[in-house]
């Protein structure tokens, strides 16, 4: 065990600084807007351009509701996710990610087109040497791409802008993250964490507050005001198996401490033609854990199709209801894919069971959840995605995809307009073509 700990303590820095993608699943993974060159495979046209790196993920697609209902927001879309990185000199990299997209052709000629640029300046350098090993300093701003805090109890795979940075030495890291506009208008988050064993264990302090409130009157504009202490860790007892846990307590809300906890187990196996992921999560959020004292609809941006590749089980779904309810959920995840020649058959399943209960004396308060379900009570949700991918070129990832799913991203048309719920739960046939350059 000591040898294992020593090995973890000396773990090499990850390829992507603070990579918060969920690598314990088989869900498609997007590129992250930093350390681009370390993410590019050799088929990428911009893989080996000296101080430059470039990539583009291009996708066109359509969605046809199987239930015969009205079209979904993205029923005739394209998007081009373009990345350009320039290593100005050793220690400074400038990353530009531009997402070009058009929600649907039905909106009129280029009417619903959007351009979402994100720039991340990444400073990295060794600032000292301790016991023969360098102390590395990293700083990224303003585009943080996906952010997960700890094991995701408070915030998980959420795109943010702000800054993050810190010092790392061997397997230890001291880091701070600031993110603006998290789940509500004008809220901000400042996070500090100290991790060891290459990020496998850690403690953190997070402040979630409203930085630029227009008023102190909570009935007009509820203000976030949460301070959180957390401890988290993960362990891989066997190859492909990961167990993780997080405990988090909000201090100084309406009660002295409101608690939340997450247990997670994942089995991820990859064979030559077959891969499978089995996952399970149990989450508990006590009344008052969320950063607001009043029920307030959360919202998230941007509402792009790429966000279908994350689980519905996310703190976004819990924190807003926290002023009224205790929440306990179980989620089982299953993903699998099997490739036969140019064809890959895949399936994904997320089964989410949520208990919501009101601890207030008297009849429980009834509200509508983000998906119009009445709370409190037992809410169940199952998302599925199943279909096939055709790879016309044997060694290249370009593909045509056809699948059925009941999870389609919700959007008001403009992907930059905050949305109060993330997914449309309707059976939909998706046909897409993807090119990775």
């Amino acid at each position: 065990m000591l040898a294992l700990l020593a090995a973890l303590a000396l773990a090499a820095p990850p390829d992507v600084y603070n990579d918060d993608r969920d690598h314990r699943t088989l869900l498609p993974q997007k590129l992250i807007n930093r350390n681009l060159s370390t993410q590019l495979d050799t088929y990428r046209l911009g893989d080996d351009l000296g101080i430059f790196s470039a990539a583009a993920d291009i996708q066109i697609g359509t969605q046809a509701p199987i239930d015969g209902g009205s079209p979904t927001p993205f029923h005739g879309f394209f998007f081009t996710d373009m990345f350009l990185a320039v290593q100005v000199f050793e220690g400074i990299e400038v990353n530009l990610n531009v997402l070009l997209l058009n929600t649907t052709a039905s909106g009129g000629f280029r009417i619903l087109a959007d351009v979402l640029p994100g720039l991340a300046a990444h400073l990295f350098l060794d600032v000292a040497t301790i016991d023969g090993d360098p102390v590395r300093f990293d700083f990224v701003t303003p585009d943080l791409d996906l952010v997960t805090l700890g094991e995701g109890l408070l915030l998980e795979t959420t795109p943010l802008e702000g800054f993050m940075g810190g010092l790392s030495w061997r397997g230890f890291e001291l880091q701070t993250i600031f993110g603006g506009r998290v789940f509500w208008q004008q809220d901000d988050m400042l996070h500090f964490n100290l991790t060891a064993l290459g990020g496998h264990v850690g403690v953190s302090y997070t402040q979630w507050w409203t930085g630029f409130a227009d008023t102190d009157e909570p009935s007009i504009e509820p203000n976030a005001n949460g301070r959180y202490l957390a401890a988290f860790g993960r362990w891989s007892p066997l190859p492909g198996i990961t167990l993780a846990a997080e405990y988090n307590a909000r201090l100084g809300g309406e009660r002295a401490a409101s608690q939340a906890a997450l247990l997670r187990g994942d089995l991820l196996k990859r064979y030559k033609d077959f891969s499978v992921h089995l996952g399970y999560q149990v989450r508990y959020y006590q009344t008052g854990f969320g950063p607001l004292e009043t029920l307030t609809a959360p919202s998230t941006i941007p509402s792009t199709p790429g966000r279908e590749d994350y689980y519905a089980t996310n703190s976004f779904e819990y924190l807003w209801a926290s002023p009224f309810y205790d929440q306990l959920s179980h989620t089982a995840m299953l993903e699998g894919r099997y490739r036969v020649g140019p064809v890959e058959i895949f399936g994904e399943l997320e089964w989410w069971l949520r208990y919501v209960y009101d601890q207030q004396p008297g009849p429980p308060r009834v509200i509508a959840g983000l998906n119009q379900e009445l709370l409190p009570g037992l809410a169940t949700q199952m998302y599925y995605r199943a279909g096939a991918r055709l790879y016309p070129f044997e060694q290249l990832p370009h593909r045509i995809v056809a699948f059925a799913s009941n999870k389609s991203i919700f959007s008001f048309g403009r992907v930059t307009q905050p949305v109060p719920f993330r997914f449309i739960d309707r059976p939909i046939l998706f046909i897409e073509a993807e090119v990775k350059l």
Binding site: T296, Y355, I367, A368, P376, G377, L378
Partner: protein, 360 residues
């Protein structure tokens, strides 16, 4: 839903335990404080409270009807909301602050009445002509709204609207919302948290107030009804002249004295005052009763004034019961001698509760 609360940790982790859906959640009952003042004639055996709804086509629709089981002058009672609202109730839009989302509410009137026929229902008094006796109803301008379908209403509101809703109901799942009305007649929410009080002493206007949906108006008052007793030390014909038709000579020493007002007034629509006047050798005791009466048919309210006065010569021997200068003060007024001058009415005694608040 209580099963959801009482689940043990193991049950929670395993996801066991009965946990009924919210459609089965019960509604918080309405707590009403029934104030009965001057209740010597009120029998709690027959005192009940009914919920009536203003009908869409006029008239009243009947709702819940409960008995007052406790005794005392202030009774806290519980009205369970009916699971369905009666058809025909008139619905009005209420905007929830601050989002201004509109919800539909019916306007219940809470009625305290004496169930004189023992039917345990005000149904027989629906047209205000039955045997049951209305004692008082809540005010039209400060009253309640009953959300028609609280489940569907809340489902339509979203989190922010639901928060606004629960802010109005003191964080309770109840279909009753405290309301007021703006000057223009629009309903507005009232966030008062004290118990909903029903003053069961509005006897004189309750039937008309209910029948007219609160739309009572001023009507022309009838002439004052004056009865003037004139002591034989004075000339009754000279004193009364043509203005006082009921003017009777009497020996005041044998006259049954008029009843002087004592104790609190029975309700806000009745006022009784006494006053003494002196002028040019004549001394008069005046007892005046003002009573507001409203007609359910015309919705007009008029102030009826009844005056009983006793006149005697200033120089004459006063009867033993004569209260002027002792329990009744003199008033120097230019008004006719048989009319009480409101300028001389004593200041109303301050409400003890108001005094407490001032002290605080």
């Amino acid at each position: 839903m209580s099963g959801c609360r009482s689940m043990g940790l193991l049950s929670l982790l395993l996801g066991l335990g009965a946990c009924a859906g919210p459609e089965y959640a019960e509604l918080e009952p309405l707590q009403i404080e029934v104030m009965v003042v001057g209740s010597a004639t009120v029998s709690y055996d027959s005192l009940r409270v009914a919920v009536l709804y203003q009908g869409a086509q006029g008239g009243l629709e009947l709702g819940a009807d409960v008995a007052v089981t406790a005794t005392g002058t202030a009774t806290l009672m519980t009205v369970m909301p009916p699971t369905t609202i009666e058809r025909g109730a008139r619905l009005e839009a209420l905007q929830l602050p601050p989002s201004q989302q509109a919800i539909l509410v019916a306007r219940p009137r809470i009625l305290a009445y004496l169930d004189l026929d023992g039917s345990e229902s005000f149904q027989d008094g629906r047209q205000m002509t039955g045997p049951d006796q209305p004692l008082g109803a809540d005010g039209y301008w400060q009253t309640l709204g009953r959300v028609v379908d609280p489940w569907a209403t809340i489902a339509s509101l979203g989190p922010d609207g639901a928060q606004a809703y629960y802010r109005l109901t003191n964080n309770r799942f109840t279909p009753f919302i405290r309301l007021g009305r703006e000057a223009g007649g629009n309903l507005v929410a009232d966030t008062a948290l004290e118990p909903y009080a029903l003053d069961a002493t509005r006897l004189s206007i309750t039937p008309a107030d209910l029948a007219c949906q609160g739309n009572l108006r001023n009507a022309e008052s009838p002439p004052d009804e004056v009865l003037l007793w004139v002591d034989r030390s004075l000339d009754a014909e000279v004193l009364c002249g043509l203005e006082v038709p009921h003017c009777l000579p009497v020996d005041t020493s044998t006259l049954t004295p008029p009843a002087l007002p004592q104790g609190p007034v029975p309700n806000a629509f009745v006022a009784r005052n006494s006053q003494c006047r002196r002028r040019r050798g004549v001394e008069v005791l005046i007892v005046q009763e003002d009573r507001l009466r409203c007609s359910p048919s015309t919705c007009g309210c008029a102030n009826e004034i009844r005056i009983e006065a006793v006149a005697t010569a200033t120089s004459a021997m006063k009867p033993s019961w004569w209260p002027c200068g002792e329990s009744v003060d003199y008033c120097d007024s230019p008004l006719p001698l048989y009319q009480a001058d409101p300028e001389c009415y004593p200041e109303p005694e301050p409400d003890p509760e108001d005094e407490d608040q001032d002290d605080g």
